[in-house]
């Protein structure tokens, strides 16, 4: 009997010692809903149908990216379950789908939801529920207001920053500028326009001789372009989405209007805008970029481009290799993976936000050289640098330095 007691004592002590040795690791694993030892659930909405359906490819490329990540073993041993719903760019639909993601599908966080009105509609709900609304797919300047909405973070360089850079460039480079603006009549257009006026300073109203708008439901912008030409403007700030950007550039050439053209980054893709508009019509257009254009021959042999191309061919073969949106989605999905990796085993929502706000000089594939991702607890704008580029021949030619802007006012 003594033997059994001693054996019991020994095994007991041994077990205790083992437990003590193992427990620090166990104690570090923290999960909120949506994360387990084997899975991380990410929620997403995108306009796969409706007016903005051209952006639906972003959701598809992100889905393909996470498939690749899973095939390569996942992140910290966990597979990513990427759940994406169609919201048709309709805010009530977005609210419904996001509520489904949070309350039914129980995702850990929501990522890259697209569009300013949809994101405005869900912002209060997500912040109220303390669910991260990460790397939203819109450049509206309000997504970095971490004090009011600590659970919301943007991703791309915001529209105001970009427009200010154009304004400053115009003031420095165009003699006696008379500016004509074509603006999509919605949130995104207004954001750009307000930033532009801010950048022009107190003479903004005098310098802008013509400001015309169009609706997404307009078939063409021909009549607006005629109005702009007849205003005598010698500078053209083109705040349009891809289809209308191509139409505007083509029409300008057709009616013989040759102003200095500034094009918003949203429509800077060569494959989906410049080529349809016509290379010969697009010479000299200036835009601000932060991503490499997939049709640019200067990157054709770059390591990150070749990796992206291989990825597209294997995981998203129906995706358009000339579409800048597919580069965009790939880069932001990479960023998401980096953040999740940084979380380690602490997969609480608070920690996801914390790691997202803790990015120092992170390099992403297909970012232009010199542009890095930086966030901090007081800086919720991951990308704030752009470089200007001018269209020459058949590609964009970068010029000048990488420009940064301090975070737009909170």
């Amino acid at each position: 009997m003594h033997h059994t007691t001693r054996r019991l004592l020994l095994t007991g002590t041994g077990a205790l010692a083992l437990a003590l040795a193992v427990s620090p690791v166990c104690a570090q694993k923290k999960y909120d809903e949506g994360a387990t030892d084997t899975e991380i659930k990410i929620g997403h909405t995108n306009p796969y149908s409706g007016n903005a359906s051209a952006y639906g490819t972003i959701g598809k490329v992100i889905d393909a990216y996470f498939k690749m990540v899973n095939e390569q073993g996942g992140i910290n041993g966990r597979k990513i379950t990427f759940i994406s719903y169609d919201d048709g760019y309709s805010p009530p639909k977005t609210v419904e789908m996001v509520r489904k993601l949070v309350e039914e599908d129980r995702v850990l966080f929501v990522f890259q939801t697209l569009g300013t009105p949809p994101n405005t509609a869900i912002q209060k709900y997500l912040n109220g529920k303390k669910v991260p609304q990460l790397f939203v797919a819109t450049g509206a300047s309000k997504w970095g207001h971490y004090k009011e909405n600590p659970w919301t973070m943007g991703y791309q360089p915001d529209y105001v920053t970009e427009a200010i850079i154009y304004a400053k460039h115009i003031l420095a480079n165009v003699k006696d500028p008379k500016i004509g603006v074509l603006m999509q009549n919605d949130d995104y257009g207004k954001d750009y326009f307000n930033g532009f006026k801010q950048g022009l300073g107190k003479d903004a109203d005098k310098l802008i001789v013509s400001h015309v708008t169009y609706e997404v439901t307009d078939p063409t912008v021909d009549s607006q372009m005629i109005q702009l030409k007849n205003s005598g403007a010698n500078v053209f700030f083109n705040i349009t989405t891809p289809k209308f950007a191509a139409q505007a550039i083509k029409k300008a050439a057709e009616i013989g209007w040759k102003p200095a053209q500034y094009l918003n980054n949203v429509s800077a893709s060569v494959g989906t805008v410049i080529k349809p508009a016509g290379f010969e019509n697009s010479q000299g257009i200036i835009t601000a970029a932060y991503l490499k254009d997939p049709t640019d021959p200067q990157w054709a042999n770059a390591k990150d481009f070749l990796e992206w191309k291989a990825f597209m061919q294997k995981y998203y073969p129906t995706g358009n290799l000339a579409d800048g949106n597919n580069v965009f989605g790939y880069s932001v999905a990479t960023l998401m993976s980096i953040v999740l990796k940084q979380c380690g085993d602490d997969l609480t929502r608070a920690n996801v936000m914390k790691q997202a706000a803790n990015l120092k000089n992170v390099d992403l594939p297909l970012l232009l050289p010199g542009i890095k991702v930086n966030t901090s607890p007081t800086d919720f704008y991951p990308l704030q640098s752009v470089q200007l580029q001018k269209f020459e021949g058949e590609t964009w030619k970068l010029f000048g330095d990488v420009l940064s802007n301090e975070a737009a006012s909170n």
């Binding site: 149908s49 409706g50 048709g88 805010p91 609210v95 509520r99 009105p117 509609a121 949130d187 439901t217």
Partner: protein, 347 residues
């Protein structure tokens, strides 16, 4: 042997409608108790109550259209406009004038009635297809009208208006979603009851007479113009109240929320449900809320099961579903069910 009462309704019919009345009251009571039964036991989540609320809201919207199109024969493809008006009235009053949410409903009702009535006036001159297309043009123009510069001081333009969902009053142990569900249910019961009485009255008979044979109706002394414009107003009122409730549920309105797809959805719901029946409105409301999700889920299943050469989209399934439904039940699901019921009863 049917004896008639003073109302001219056969006694047999009367007892049948009484029986139906008991059924309906029973169903309503069960529905009202759902937050207790479902909520407390966790059977129905908050998201579930959101879904139920939306089904009821769309049922009210579809009912508005049915009153106009099914019972009066005026085709409208633009009811999304009235939905938007109701939604914005509620949002503006709550946001800018700090009104309590329940007080905005009567105001939304009155405003929409006026708008509907005003639209009904030129509509008098338009026949069938012309009216359909004119109302369709209205539906498409709604986001633009909402963004109009001179309205921006109260519509807030493209930014939209953010409001807050009400908390349950008197500290009731309900979630906000459950409370809104009860509110929506109460409003729906009231409005359906009013519609039922309206349709069973002289007004209802006049409306149906105008639908079936306008010329004969006017020779019988019915003031066709008066009835047609008033029912336009009433129809707009119903859909407008639905819009107001919708705005309160989602706590946000923006021009992008009211594109012409909404008008088409309400029409499809009305036709699929049953264009001239009140139960059809309920079925239509459920259909509007539920069909896209089913189409989406079905598409995902199909894509996973069969390797198609193309990226199948949910709207294809939706379109096929519509065509199949119209084939099998051209009178709507309510009509189809009624037919089935009659066949089963052997009459």
């Amino acid at each position: 042997m049917a004896t008639t009462t003073a109302n001219g309704i056969a006694a047999g019919e009367r007892s049948a409608s009484l029986g139906r009345g008991y059924w309906l009251t029973g169903i309503v009571i069960v529905l009202a108790l759902l937050p207790l039964i479902g909520g407390k036991t966790g059977l129905i989540s908050n998201y579930g109550f959101l879904q139920l609320s939306l089904m009821i809201v769309y049922a009210i919207a579809v009912l508005g259209l049915i009153l106009l199109t099914g019972f009066n024969g005026q085709i409208s493809l633009g009811h999304g406009a009235f939905f938007a008006v109701g939604a914005y009235v509620a949002a503006v009053l709550i946001d800018q004038a700090n009104w309590p949410y329940w007080a905005t409903l009567p105001v939304a009702a009155i405003m929409c009635f006026l708008v509907g009535y005003l639209f009904g006036l030129p509509a008098l001159r338009l026949e069938g297809h012309y009216l359909a297309l004119a109302t369709f043009a209205l539906a498409v123009a709604v986001p633009q009208i909402l963004k109009y510069r001179h309205f921006e001081w109260f519509t807030n333009g493209v930014q939209g208006i953010n409001i807050f969902k009400p908390d349950p009053p008197f500290g009731l142990p309900l979630s906000a979603d459950q409370w809104m569900y009860l509110v929506v249910l109460a409003v729906a019961v009231l409005m359906f009851w009013i519609a039922r009485n309206l349709l069973d009255s002289r007004t209802g008979r006049a409306l149906r007479a105008i639908r079936d044979h306008t010329m004969a109706a006017s020779t019988m002394g019915i003031n066709v113009a008066h009835y047609k414009t008033v029912v336009f107003g009433v129809s707009a009122l119903y859909t407008g109240v639905a819009g107001a409730l919708h705005a309160i549920i989602f706590e946000f309105v923006a021009p992008d929320s009211f594109r012409f797809e909404l008008s088409i959805a309400i029409l499809v719901g009305a036709v699929v449900g049953g264009i001239a029946s009140l139960p059809g409105a309920v079925i239509g409301g459920v259909f509007v809320q539920v069909i896209e999700k089913y189409a989406d889920a079905l598409t995902k299943k199909l894509t996973a099961a069969v390797n198609l050469p193309l990226d199948l989209e949910p709207w294809t399934i939706y379109g096929i579903a519509l065509i199949v439904l119209m084939y099998t039940m051209p009178m709507g699901i309510a009509g189809g069910l009624a037919l089935l019921w009659r066949r089963l009863r052997g009459s």
